[in-house]
Every structure is written in structure tokens, then in C-alpha cells.
Amino acid sequence: MHIPDGFLATPVWAALDVAAAPAAGYLARRAQRGFDEARVPLLGVMGAFVFAAQMINFPVGVGTSGHLVGGALLACALGPAAAGVTMCAILAIQALVFQDGGVLALGANIVNMAILGVFAGYLPFQLWGGGRWRRFAIFAAGTLSVLVSALAALAELLISGVKMPSAVLGMSLALFLVSALLEGAITLAVIEALEAIQPGFIGKPAAGRPFALRAAGLAAVLLAAVGVWFASTAPDGVQKLAERSGISQAAALFSTPLAGYQVAFAGSPWLRKAIAGLAGVALIYGVCLLIGRAARTRSV
């Protein structure tokens, strides 16, 4: 589920853009392995595959059908870093070319699907993908990746003040669960069919740094679960959250970085907000650029 622009409160999309940019940069460097760009075509073509895969419908029964989302399949086939980068590229193309997901909300969608979804999906595969629970692990990978992405998106929407009657909320949770289970089933069926064509195509999870990966996967699952729980108990959004936790000063400083200069603009509150928003964008841009630079020099 791709969040369009206009849904998220400014502090939410801004914070997620700030979080997503360095994370995407880090994934790109890990996927790149040194400075060789030799795997660019593989990641690009597999991204195009995930796009095209959406044209192939899977019957679910009662006349409806679903399609592959792909995060877990990519994670099992390419490893989590490459899968994350590929998902980032997919989301960027979807936002720019297909108006599927917003541009300001791109950070949120990257966090939900390319980071949380991919790492949560890789967790069961990493834990059990090599043993006799492999089939279950692949099914769980697909299920968890979609469930975590959807829950994270739901949490962000609720925090931003998008209102949902409890019946609708319950229904969407049920819907998420169904599509997550469907993704698990599709991922498993596709990987089994692949291994029938070419045994050993999807290998066992790679050894090396299992602890960090498991921690990242677990963190993704927890973050989504806690986020939804938190968002549904505090449905009035960021403002109340800030007041309640007593960090309203900090929050105000964050959402309006030019708070100190507001007087100079003589009043009209929207101008303050717009300028604060633009300054926020500039700030995000600066921070991301700096982090990028720092990371680049460190890895040289």
C-alpha cells in the first residue's frame, strides 16, 4: 500500500524522509559491494520483473484475485540489501511515473516497504530458510513482509490524524492479514516453481552477519507492531502526542525550524508554516547530503 501525498502530517513525512534517505544510501553501498556497479543490471531487471509480475493474477476465490508484492521474493533471491535497493528503485519509479505513492511520502513508503518490509520478510528466511522448515520460512517471509509494511503504513496514517471508524479499522486489519497470507502463499508457490525449473536457484540464506540481520528483522517487526498499537491508542495525531509526552517544545522546533523568526513575517500563520515546511525540506536535504558525504568518505 503506497501512501499518496496529502495523507501524512508534515512532521511524519519529514521525519520519515530524513530516516529513509541515509538508510537507502546505506543499503545502496552494501548492495554495491565495494565500488563495482556490475550488479546494477541485475537489480534493475529484477525490479522490472516485480513490476511486470503485477500483471499476472492469482485467483483467491470468490471471483477476486491478488498479485505479488515481491519484497520477500527479492530478499530470498538477492539478499536483503539488494532487495531493499531494488524496492527503493521500484517505489521511486512508481511515485514518479505511475503516480502510485507520493513524492513527499516517498520516504514513508521506502521505510515501510523497502526497509521494514524487506528486513522483516528476511527474518524467517534467515532463521529457518536452510533447514527442514524451509517451506514454512518462505511462506512466513512473504506474510511478514506485507503485514509489517501494511501495519507501518497504517500507523503512520493514524498518527497523521487520518480518521477511521473502529469497524473500518478492524476491516482493514483483516484485509491486511488476508493479503499478507496471500503474499506468503504466492512467494512460496513461485519459489517452489522456480526450484522445479532450476534446482538451487534460490539458495540458502547467506552466512555472515546473521546477528545484525536478525536484529534488524526483529526491530522491523517490533516497530510496526508498537507503531500500530501506539497509533491506535493515541489516534489524535502528532499534536496530542507532543503535548502528552511533554516534548511539544522540541516538536515545535522540529516542525517549524524557523520558529524563532516567525515574528519577522508579521503574522499570517500559513506563511510561517509554508516557510517552515520549505526550510524543513532544505534541512532534510542538507542532512541527507551530509550523511551521504560522510559515509562516502568513510568507505573510501
Binding site: 525490479g47 511486470a52 499476472i56 492469482f58 511515485a95 515546511g277 536535504y285
Partner: protein, 246 residues
């Protein structure tokens, strides 16, 4: 297909097509922020911004109805949440979701249909976005055409066997779809290998070299200032004179 139409539009030659991609991206960001942070007199502001965007669409020589229709791709998703908000007793917010997401989508569409994607990605690269990610996006876009065509052939082939497939249980059709995807996956993987060999055969040194640097001219700067001021001014005017309550 959607992206084929956009690509055709992006080959136009209007003044907007010729602007530096970075100027267009920066102006887009300003527009999106103006929309995202708006909450007073939203219907009037939306009308004003819609007129602004429509004028730009027409000025760029892009069919207005086509552009408005394509931006409406966001509406089904948005309408669901708008309705949810309305049911929850907050119709104003529901309306805001619909208006904001539609305007944002139209603005993005305007930029993408006046800038070819490779040029847009180049602009993002010189603005500091991770190059590796952008190269992946460029290959994704290049082979999107090829692989979705393969997928269409496969789903047509499946449909032409429909007579036999329809008789099958859902479970068997599910397996058939999984088989088709597996073949598509293996083919895509193989194609990536072919591309890599073709790169090596032409002395690929390990990283991509680019032909031409983008040039930010004075016209781009003027455009950036004007295009950024327009939505800000529209919002100032609307919020000053409109009588709609918050």
C-alpha cells in the same frame, strides 16, 4: 500503457520541456509542500492550484483531459480513506485527502511528462541522490518495457488456454500463475546476465560513465523563482480573501 504515453509526452519541445530537471524538481517540491501544509479554505485553494497546473499542462502542449485523467489514478485509493474519514465524522479531512493527493499527483505528472526519465534521474543524481540507486532505477525503467511485454505475452498465452484452465480448481490455477511467474523470474535473471556480458564485451570498467553534464542556465533560475512563487502567491491570495472556514 501509462508509461509509454508519459514517455511520448516527455519528448515534446515546449519551454517547460527544455528547463533543467533540477529547476523542475525544486519547483515541484515547493508546490507539494504548499499543498501538504495547507488546511484553510482548501476547496478554493485547490481550485486555484488546479487552474495553475492546468495552464502549465496546456502550455507544455500536453492534452489536458489526458493529464487530468491520468492523475486520477490516485483517486480510488484516496477515496477509500476519504470515505473512512467521512464515516468517522470528519468529512472536511476526507475532502482534504482527496484534493491534496489529486493535486500532488497532477503536479508530479506534469514534471514527469515534460522531462524524460533518464534526464530526471540525472537531475536527481547531481542533486545528491545515491547514484547506485538511480542507476538501478534507470535499468528498471529501461527493461520495464521489455519485461512487461513478456508478462503480457504470458498472460495472453494463459488466457488462450483459458478453456482448459477455467475448468481447473482455483488451486491448480494458482499453481499455473506461480509457474508463469517463475518462468518470468528465471528469464529476467537470465536477461540480466546477458546484459552484464554485453557490458563487459564493451569494456565496462566497473562504473557507468556519463556523456553530458546538465547546465543550469539563467532561464532555469527565472523559471524556478516564478514557478515557486506561483503556488505560494495563490495560497496567500486565497487564504486572505476566501470566506470558507478552516
Amino acid at each position: 500503457m501509462h508509461h509509454v504515453v508519459l514517455e511520448r509526452w516527455s519528448r515534446g519541445a515546449s519551454a517547460l520541456h527544455r528547463r533543467d530537471p533540477r529547476a523542475k524538481l525544486a519547483a515541484l517540491l515547493v508546490f507539494l509542500v504548499v499543498v501538504a501544509t495547507a488546511h484553510r479554505a482548501l476547496p478554493a485553494l485547490a481550485a486555484a492550484l488546479l487552474v495553475l497546473l492546468s495552464a502549465a499542462v496546456v502550455g507544455a502542449g500536453i492534452p489536458l483531459a489526458g493529464a487530468l485523467g491520468r492523475a486520477a489514478l490516485v483517486l480510488p485509493f484516496t477515496a477509500v480513506f476519504g470515505a473512512a474519514c467521512w464515516l468517522a465524522g470528519d468529512p472536511a479531512r476526507g475532502l482534504a485527502l482527496v484534493l491534496k493527493s489529486y493535486l500532488s499527483a497532477l503536479a508530479v505528472l506534469l514534471v514527469v511528462s515534460t522531462t524524460s526519465l533518464p534526464v530526471l534521474l540525472r537531475g536527481l543524481e547531481t542533486a545528491g541522490a545515491p547514484r547506485y540507486l538511480l542507476m538501478v532505477a534507470q535499468f528498471l525503467y529501461r527493461y520495464l518495457f521489455v519485461i512487461s511485454e513478456e508478462a503480457q505475452h504470458m498472460s495472453k498465452a494463459a488466457a488462450s488456454r483459458g478453456a482448459t484452465l477455467r475448468g481447473l480448481a482455483a488451486r491448480a490455477r494458482f499453481r499455473a500463475a506461480a509457474g508463469a511467474l517463475a518462468v518470468l523470474f528465471a528469464r529476467s535473471y537470465g536477461r540480466a546476465g546477458d546484459i552484464h556480458r554485453a557490458m563487459l564485451a564493451r569494456s565496462f570498467p566497473g562504473h557507468f560513465l556519463t556523456l553530458d553534464a546538465l547546465r543550469f542556465r539563467r532561464g532555469d533560475a527565472v523559471f524556478l523563482v516564478l514557478a515557486s512563487l506561483a503556488p505560494v502567491a495563490a495560497r496567500a491570495a486565497v487564504e486572505r480573501f476566501a470566506r470558507w472556514p478552516a
